[in-house]
Amino acid sequence: MAQKIETERLNAYFNSVHAVKDVGLGIPENKITAIIGPSGCGKSTLIRCFNRMHEVVRGARVTGKVLLDGKNIYDADMDPVLVRTKVGMVFQKPNPFPTMSIYDNVAAGLRLNGVKDWDRLDKTVEKSLRLAALWDEVKHQLDASGVSISGGQQQRLCIARALAVEPEALLLDEPCSALDPIATAKIEDLLFDLKNSYTIVIVTHNMQQAARIADYTAFMYMGELIEFGVTKTIFEAPDKELTEKYITGRFG
């Protein structure tokens, strides 16, 4: 099976804090991979290394390799800006641009990168909003502010915005933690549809969510990757005792 993203001896630090320790992990192409683990175990930091967003924070440092289609994105000749157009990201809290309309939010990635062709923008906006299952809800109010819609809609708007730049992989950092169960279900359905064409990595606190949607699951603890495998195996017959303890709720 093809690996879209592979890490080799990946370490990430914030100043003196060692947040991700020696992680070697392969993210399969066109599948959903969930990363679970207790708060502060380095899940978010790990996926932020996949599109070089970790280094945006002050005092952050990375060693080791992250291979995207076999090429190390930390090589000196790799432009982080280009990496981020290939690996999109959706954050924990919905963060549409408040000064932009819904249309402009979706078009932002293309327009800010210099695309001026309105026909192309129109098509991309409609396509992305349809992919994010938001089109029918907002098609009459594309000129309304990006923050005038509900939280769940805002999060799908952020997904549409990330899809509009046509990435190959999509990283989601606890995308549903601020949403109610109905909005969560909508996003889960959406991810399920998207996985045919995108490699998806989702960080989640919600183990049921991982069990429901992920093909593969990685369990992290204290910055280390404890176990990685097919979701069913991780949840039903994990190798490590630590994994079993966490899954069954005996700690964390």
Partner: protein, 296 residues
Amino acid sequence: MSLEIRTYKRRKLVNLLASAAALSCVVVALIPLASILVEVIVKGYGALSWGFISNPIIPGGGIGNAILGTLQLAFYASLIGLPVGILTGIYVSEFGDNGFGRTIRFFNDVFANFPSIVIGLLAYSLFITYFGFSILLGAIALAMIMIPVVANTTEEALRMVPNSLREASLALGVPRWKTVLKVMITNGKSGMVTGALLAIARITGETAPILVTARYSYYWALSPSDPTASLPVAIWFNALDQSATAQQQAWGAALVLIILVLSFNIVVRLLTRRNRFNNNNRMVKKSWLRKSKQSA
């Protein structure tokens, strides 16, 4: 009476007292402000006439050249001070996470509270040989006062923009400079405008640094290299003169200065209020809107 009711009543009373105390403090703070305004209007109103604001001090006995001088000083000072100040603020906030940036921030804080007469004398000693007593020299002094103020308020305004928006933009593969330009500045704009406005209002009222740079003149300033009268300095000279006419002129000039600063404030406020999210801001093509409405 239960304990809960008693503590509730006490809390209500304390709340009432605290509100009353806060309100009376507001009143106390407003009294001097309002009395200055009333005094200036009452005493200055008599001086106002078309001749007063359109004639120069000589000939005509007006303050026209002082009004024009103040406007010119503010204009040239803003021309130098605003771009330098704003760019400094952007640098310190967005790219200044290093020793150099911290040093600049430190000096901004120091110079923002420097006595303006000292800055005036500094401008005088550095540039008098090049410009002489002139509007330009005055504008340089005022710009030196503006720059740290504008840099600080710009930095503050950009820091108020949530970091999540910066990350959203970077994660879309937008380069850093464009993120600053299109996301950070767009979202911090109203704070930046307010800061620039305050800086302009502040220099419009400066007297001491102008006295040692643009000096004073009874006549129209014909070019930026001429010395000029300005409203604050005109107020000062007239107030020193005990004659009734001069006193009247001083109050009149004070009223004009207040009206000038106030109306400038109001105009910019109105302009920036319209700039928050609204339909002017959308970049949706009309045809697109029509299309989506038809498909409905």
